[in-house]
């Protein structure tokens, strides 16, 4: 669906974790026209001098009910304002924006990797994959048990594996340490979270072919002429797609404010992204 300005009515708002909110909006155009990985740019009240919209991943979208959800942390005045919007009020949303995750039709097993709020970036892909009959495992990393995304908010079909930095729940350590156990099982991986996490995953993904041997991969994908970097076809063939974040102005590709550095030059997160194949990004060497 092409982007448009939509009046989205708040129908439910709750704090699902300390400082983290899940809000449901009635916005049929967005609910039926969006794909996993896309986002909306939400206008906040400008009573306090806030001049920019706030971008949010579309956390879930249900065409049947016309409901989309957004999951966010209260980090500043814009998100604080949002937590105080009352049911029945309508927010001005521009969307759906950006390019979605690209799932290869031949992929049976999808690995989703989320760090903290990154869950919002991949959450909708779980619904799409289940609808399409694919197996889903979500690896989730958080600081501690109290920051772990509630499993009750995930579909039953999902296998949910947790890592916490302090070991208070699940694996003691980083979520990236769980990945090697799943890299043979997974046909594709999709990640969203802090930049160092994504950089580490990109590093793991780059070495995967060698570790697993190319025979299997050669049969399933690869081979033939290569698709241009950044094309939907190339992304489908890539093992790892990441959803990136950057501060934004326009969110439609007009201001060039949201770039990240790609191997072929600057990339607009709002237009070429927010989803990229890991190979498109020039990851910092320190990762």
């Amino acid at each position: 669906m092409t982007m448009r300005l939509v009046a989205a009515e708040l129908v439910d708002s709750r704090q699902i974790l300390p400082g983290q909110w899940l809000q449901s909006f009635h916005a049929p155009e967005l609910a039926s026209g969006s794909r996993a990985g896309q986002f909306v740019h939400v206008r906040t009240g400008d009573y306090s001098g806030l001049v920019l919209r706030r971008p949010f991943s579309i956390n879930t979208a249900d065409p049947a009910t016309g409901i989309i959800t957004l999951h966010f942390r209260m980090v500043g005045r814009g998100t604080e304002w949002m937590t105080r919007v009352r049911e029945g009020e309508r927010l001005d949303m521009l969307g759906p924006l950006g390019r979605p995750f690209e799932v290869d039709p031949r992929s049976h097993h999808l690995l989703l990797i989320a760090g903290g709020l990154g869950m919002a970036g991949v959450r909708m892909l779980a619904d799409e994959a289940i609808r399409d009959g694919r197996g889903i495992t979500i690896l989730f990393g958080a600081l501690s048990a109290s920051h772990v995304y509630p499993s009750s908010l995930l579909p039953d079909e999902v296998e949910y594996v947790v890592a916490t930095d302090d070991g208070s729940l699940g694996h003691h350590g980083y979520v990236t340490e769980l990945v090697p156990d799943y890299e043979a099982w997974a046909d594709q991986a999709f990640a969203c979270g802090p930049q160092p996490m994504l950089a580490r995953l990109a590093q793991l993904a780059a070495g995967r072919r060698d570790r697993l041997g190319v025979a299997k991969l050669g049969r399933k994908r690869g081979g033939g002429k290569s698709d241009p970097l950044g094309s939907a076809a190339a992304r489908r063939k890539s093992f790892l797609q990441v959803s990136m974040e950057q501060t934004m102005g326009c969110a439609v590709g007009a201001c060039l404010g949201c770039t990240v550095i790609g191997v072929e030059g600057p990339l607009r997160v709002c237009r070429e992204g927010p989803v990229f194949a890991a190979e498109e990004i020039a990851w910092p060497a320190s990762a």
Binding site: V148, G249, L256
Partner: protein, 405 residues
């Protein structure tokens, strides 16, 4: 095959809806039945003079809007003349002036090349489009992050990322050519030769209606001193581009100077058709952990409502020393802002940062200006221009920034 299965289930960890309710501070917040960019009924120009509250993003589709104008009212609205020639001096030449259907433009760098907002904005109803800064060769721009919000505004350090003038002409020229809205190409460079060469290549390109020189760029020939803060360089670059092209020529002032008036005069004398003012103010933001500057480029340009008083002051000063048209830029978010700038001597305004929150604003401002003319009984918006300027010459305010803090 999956290696490890660590399936974790939870007790009810979530904070229920009711408990979070009780945490909420009951707020007495008046939701103004608003404006907002969600009224999709595209009625003819200025049809619904609406109350612009500008203070809430809460969209209320059920809000009563002013009734559609009667046929007679519509005819009266249609008679109001919002057109303006930004290059009246060109009128005599074969290329003619730069005539806009209305005085609301979109500012360079905030509206891309006019295509990005797609169907969200009806570009044909804009006065003109100033495209992103264009240089001779492609530029990759500055290190990210490049934008951040500040109180009442934002900082940007895009660094003139653009594909170079040839690619701009090739990619967008054919599109612009089909539009009735004039496109003004914003031109940047690091030497006079750069500016001249870009202007030459734009000259005669169908779809290019004019040039706006962004002179807030370091002048490599003068050790990086910005053209915009150096009167002689501003004069020289304007004169050189004037000789290189017949296109209407606008020159954009920087506010980062002690006294802008000698610079504005030099630009007028060098043959500019109009002056646009202002570009962003130099600023800085600190990273959240306070270990460095937030922007990848350290410094950024401040824009948005926060800079409106500065822009007003500069327009007010410049209007008293030049006689070419002035296009005001800086923090426009409402009809009141437009009227303020007109009162200080501008003949048109550009909308920049406000587009990000409200992409339909520029088109709506045109409609509102038309409705305001009707309400005041004017048949054009000209009576709004210059009303706040000093009535006598030699007034102390004509001397420039003079205030006692």
């Amino acid at each position: 095959m999956k290696a490890k299965r660590t399936i974790i289930t939870f007790g009810d960890m979530r904070v229920g809806k009711d408990s979070d309710r009780s945490k909420r501070t009951p707020t007495v917040r008046k939701i103004k039945s608003a404006i907002v960019a969600v009224d999709r009924t595209k009625s003819p120009a200025g049809a619904r003079p609406r109350v612009e509250t500008g203070s809430s993003a809460v969209a209320d589709l059920g809000a009563p809007t002013a009734p559609r104008p009667t046929l007679a009212e519509q005819a009266a609205l249609d008679r109001i003349d919002l057109s303006i020639d930004l290059a009246p001096a060109r009128g005599a030449s074969e290329h003619g002036g730069l005539i806009l259907a209305n005085p609301i433009l979109v500012a360079s760098g905030t509206f891309g090349y006019g295509v990005e907002y797609g169907e969200v904005v009806d570009v044909q109803r804009l006065g003109a489009i100033c495209c992103k800064g264009t240089t001779l060769r492609p530029r990759a721009g500055n290190a990210p992050p490049r934008v951040t919000e500040t109180p009442g505004g934002m900082l940007n350090s895009i660094g003139l990322q653009n594909p170079g003038v040839d690619a701009v002409i090739e990619k967008y020229g054919p599109i612009w050519q089909t539009w009735k809205v004039p496109v003004i190409v914003n031109v940047a460079g690091e030497s006079i030769e750069d500016y001249v060469e870009v202007a030459r290549r734009l000259d005669g390109v169908p779809g290019v209606a004019g040039i706006e020189l962004n002179i807030s760029c370091p002048n490599v020939g003068k050790g990086g001193l910005q053209f915009a803060i150096d009167r002689d360089a501003a004069r020289a670059v304007t004169a050189a581009v004037r000789r290189a092209t017949e296109l209407p020529l606008l020159v954009k002032l920087s506010p980062n100077v002690a006294d802008v008036r000698p610079i504005a005069k030099a630009i007028e004398e060098a043959g500019a058709d109009a002056i646009t003012a202002i570009n962003t103010l130099s600023g800085l933001a600190v990273s959240p952990d306070r270990t460095r500057a937030f922007l990848g480029n350290t410094y950024g340009g401040l824009s948005g409502p926060a800079i409106k008083p500065v822009a007003l002051r500069i327009v007010y000063e410049v209007a008293q020393v030049v006689s070419i048209p002035i296009v005001a830029i800086g923090g426009v978010t409402s009809l009141d802002d437009v009227l303020d700038f007109l009162a200080c001597g501008a003949v048109a305004v550009q909308v920049g940062t406000a587009i990000f929150a409200d992409p339909e604003l520029p088109v709506r401002l045109g409609d509102q200006l038309r409705a305001e003319c009707l309400r005041r009984g004017f048949d054009s918006y000209r009576p709004f221009i210059g009303t706040a300027l000093p009535k006598r010459t030699g007034a102390s305010s004509a001397k420039g920034v003079e205030y006692r803090p």
